[in-house]
Subunit: 572 residues, 2 copies
């Protein structure tokens, strides 16, 4: 396991502490402190910006960046993942709540917390039930298509705060069209601040060598614009929208208001958020863990992300997730243990409770600019081209998911993606590889007759099945075997070599039973060879073991010799 | 191909005729005529009974048993399948229309025809797009659970007509509870006729040797009860519900009324009916075809079933499908070509247009008894026990689907079934088999080190991946490889033997790219061996071919020799 083991037997109460904490070493503290500090500097602007994406007042992003970080630190298996508000789950939150309440209203805020609670409980339950494999429902092209599509959707959503162009809400296309129609009512001062900030942030990225500390640029820009906006009275003079005054202090802890109708309406979105959350977080956690030869437990991650979302719900927050960019920064800044996350949480709590007034004059357009610069790189056109060159089916899944997100919305998009992934899996599984085998002369080896010079017997058909036998391919295997038999009128024995088969599901078993029976009616016997131990154990519990017209042989060679009988008429 | 080829070049117009017709031989006619007659005798009571299951007046079952049979005969690839109203699609029809109109009303009848049209168009489109593989979305246990669940649902639905106990509509449980509550209001004469007919039909099944002609028992019982009911004036005297007078003659051909709202509401049910229809029909067609060494084309079947359903819609019918029992009887009666189906259609048309008055005094309870006896054997408890013994996951899929049908309804049940099938496929695919290989001493053969005495090199890790690399298992494969590397600090080369891999999808490619990169950072090189031709062609189009830190070898032996270098320190 990846966590250091302490040499002394832990006292009872210590068992409930994470092992990284009980084994904490003094020299880990300074790197953790620095990483916690750097991540907080990144988290302040991003948490406010993603709260806006979620349709919430900016301070709710900071509320969601305290307790969840602590919950994750105590339960997670990753040493370096940084959790908090992220772009895609914020977009999903906005999409789920849009039909239920007006953005920013009390009902909306309560709904966001309920959504965090529900998706947290779903994640936690999946962790307890060890359903970590569910992350595999999404293929990379689908995740890529989803990320690109939702990033574009987020960008389109920033047109209004960034440029001051009023836009209609609805699908991406509706918003875009309304933006074009209303382009004349662009609010020049807002657009100037917005575009200026985008340009500044991009300029600050240019020097390549500068590395980690440049990640602080958004925070520096944020502070600079606060100073400029405040000194220049931009809000009063040019009517530029600002964050405004929000109550200082941390929100009181309380569970979100729950009502049956609300829960029913939010359950499906909560499951979708949980899925997207887990899929994206686990890949970040695994990438980072391998670099330090640490290990991730998918089920522990599910529980930790679940608890973090429940914690977000308790502190009036909204769904949060593992962030890719912030985790990379945390890792690069030298974070040793999840203490870095706890330090971020403490710093964040201090900012919320004592510096709330600081953000009064922050132009909303600056936050929009932060979002644009953070999210734009996630639109990955190259991935589509790469997939198109490599695998058309995958490219279609990518494009279909992205188009679904843009045209039908994020939730329908992810649904289309899952469906496309699964259909491609069924389609791939339904094309099994089967080889007709012959014996390599003067040997005990059997090879594909199409690729090697081999000897075969006219009355024995030897087929090697190169795939697990499951419902998706049972029918194709069946058809192929009957085909091969049909082409050889002399065949009296069919020998299936199952060396590559480690599973035979109930559908495939039915297929074998029926095949055995039908072949038997044509006086053809069915034999098996090289059946793996666990497969054989299972078959022994089925009726196939009694009904099989032929025998089960240990090796193909043994079977071939037995079935050859006295015949010497090998056809080479 | 399975159809006989005529020796003369066909005239242009003959190309549009099915090949069985242009090559028809005189000696095929008598068996076709007899089979057509026997099937018609079975079809008359069943078509009326299944119309009742679908919530329609009985004559609509007969309307749906004329044109669809002709359409299927002209387009289908099966020589012996008998199509017409069947139990499960009728139940699905009732379930789809229940929220939209009152059973038997004009709107309901129009809705049923629209449902047939839509599901027919869906089937036809799938056939044109060659989507035959979609049938593989359902595993046998799911089909079995669905069939058992819907059969039980149909039985529960017959409580009212069979016993005259008024029941509430709704889920199976609601109906059952209301039946228990209302058991006191049982209508004794109806129950007597109903149970008497069930007993009679079961008695007539007892003699085992009597064979095919006993399939006519329902028709004989039907005629007998008509005579008794008519002579005894059962309807007038005992208030027993009878079929009553319906207009003689065939319905006028016209497309069903179409309205956007209706189409939208029925589209999903139509797709579900199409799926269930195709899955059950194709398995019947294949079973029968193999017995006579004929062949079925899944895409032709889709088109033929689609056309048959459109034909049903044009003649005021409802969704129809390939029937299991009737097809078996058709086959056993000696049907040689689809002409048997055309003969059935003609006979049915004659019955509808000239003998409509005959069914006036037929008690509805007799039709309910026909349904009970036909449907009860489809409740297959043994399948559950068999699946439970053989494979727990499959048993759960079966039970979950059946429970879904009974508790949530047929449509939700099939949805649960598809989801369970796919999740089990992902789960099975996510557990790939990987073997660490060593060299069999003094040979060029490589085998699993756990099963054979082999030699290995401490700095070379040879892994054989026994599964296609797809998104569902990419992560597990990745974890396993990193695990094996982690356990061997001396490893400098990882050799992946891809002899069993015939697909690497984009997700798995990403995994390999990242693995290659991460291993390279630890000064470990990644090599491939025995890559299949098509896989290699594809990899050449990806960036892996440039980025791979190691080499691609033709054989494992070649790779092993190259990587061994001068070292002779094999550890055995």
């Amino acid at each position: 396991m990846m966590r250091a083991q302490s040499d002394v037997a832990p006292a009872t109460w210590r068992r409930f502490l994470p092992s990284w904490l009980t084994a904490y070493r003094r020299e880990q503290f300074f790197p953790d402190l620095m990483a916690g500090l750097v991540v907080t500097m990144m988290l302040i602007p991003q948490s406010m910006a993603y709260a806006i994406v979620a349709g919430l007042p900016p301070q709710y992003g900071m509320y969601a960046s305290v307790l969840p970080l602590i919950a994750y630190a105590l339960l997670g298996s990753s040493m370096t993942m940084a959790v908090g508000p992220v772009a895609v789950t914020s977009l999903l939150t906005a999409s789920a709540l849009a039909p239920l309440a007006a953005p920013g209203s009390g009902a909306y805020i309560a709904g966001a917390a309920l959504l965090a609670l529900l998706s947290g409980l779903v994640l936690f339950a999946c962790g307890v039930l060890r359903l970590g494999f569910i992350a595999k429902l999404l293929s990379n092209p689908v995740v890529s298509g989803f990320t690109s599509g939702s990033s574009l959707l987020i960008l389109i959503g920033q047109i209004e705060p960034l440029l001051g162009v009023p836009t209609a809400s609805g699908s991406a296309i509706v918003t875009l069209i309304s933006a074009f129609e209303n382009v004349a009512s662009l609010h020049a001062p807002t657009a100037l601040v917005g575009c200026g900030t985008v340009a500044l942030l991009l300029l600050l990225r240019l020097p390549k060598s500068s590395g980690l500390w440049l990640k602080l640029a958004p925070m520096v820009v944020l502070l600079a614009t606060i100073v400029i906006a405040s000194a220049g009275h931009l809000h009063q003079r040019f009517d530029i929208a600002v964050v405004g005054i929000f109550p200082g202090g941390l929100p009181a802890l309380h569970p979100p208001a729950m009502e049956y109708g609300q829960i029913k309406a939010l359950m499906l979105p909560a499951c979708i958020i949980a899925l997207v959350n887990f899929v994206s977080s686990i890949s970040v956690a695994q990438t980072l863990a391998f670099k330090r030869k640490q290990k991730i437990s998918a089920d522990a991650e599910l529980r930790a992300l679940g608890a973090a979302n429940v914690a977000s719900a308790m502190s009036s927050g909204f769904p949060i997730s593992g962030g890719f960019a912030r985790s990379l920064v945390n890792f690069a800044a030298g974070a040793q243990t999840p203490l870095a996350g706890i330090i971020s949480a403490v710093l964040m709590a201090m900012v919320v409770s004592s510096c709330a007034g600081l953000f009064r004059d922050l132009p909303v357009a600056v936050l929009a600019a932060t979002i644009v610069v953070a999210v734009a790189p996630a639109i990955d056109i190259a991935a589509l081209l790469r997939a198109w060159r490599y695998d058309r089916a995958d490219a279609l899944a990518l494009a279909g998911t992205a188009a679904g997100v843009l045209v039908l919305g994020v939730e329908a998009g992810i649904g289309i993606g899952v469906a496309l992934s699964l259909i491609s899996l069924v389609w791939r599984s339904s094309q099994p590889h089967i080889a007709v085998l012959g014996r390599v002369p003067f040997s005990e080896h059997f090879r594909n007759v199409l690729r090697y010079k081999t000897e075969t017997l006219p009355h024995v058909l030897v087929l090697r099945i190169d795939e697990n036998l499951v419902f998706a391919n049972a029918q194709s295997v069946d058809e192929r075997i009957r085909d091969e038999v049909g082409q050889r009128p002399q065949v009296q024995h069919v020998l299936l070599v199952l060396s590559s088969v480690s599973q035979i599901d109930a559908t495939a078993l039915d297929m074998l039973l029926e095949l055995n029976c039908d072949l038997n009616q044509q006086a053809i016997r069915l034999h098996l060879a090289e059946v793996k131990g666990p497969v054989l154990d299972r078959l022994a519990r089925s009726t196939l073991s009694e009904q099989l017209s032929g025998s089960v042989y240990l090796s193909t060679h043994q079977a071939f010799q037995a079935l050859a009988g006295g015949a010497d008429d090998y056809s080479i």
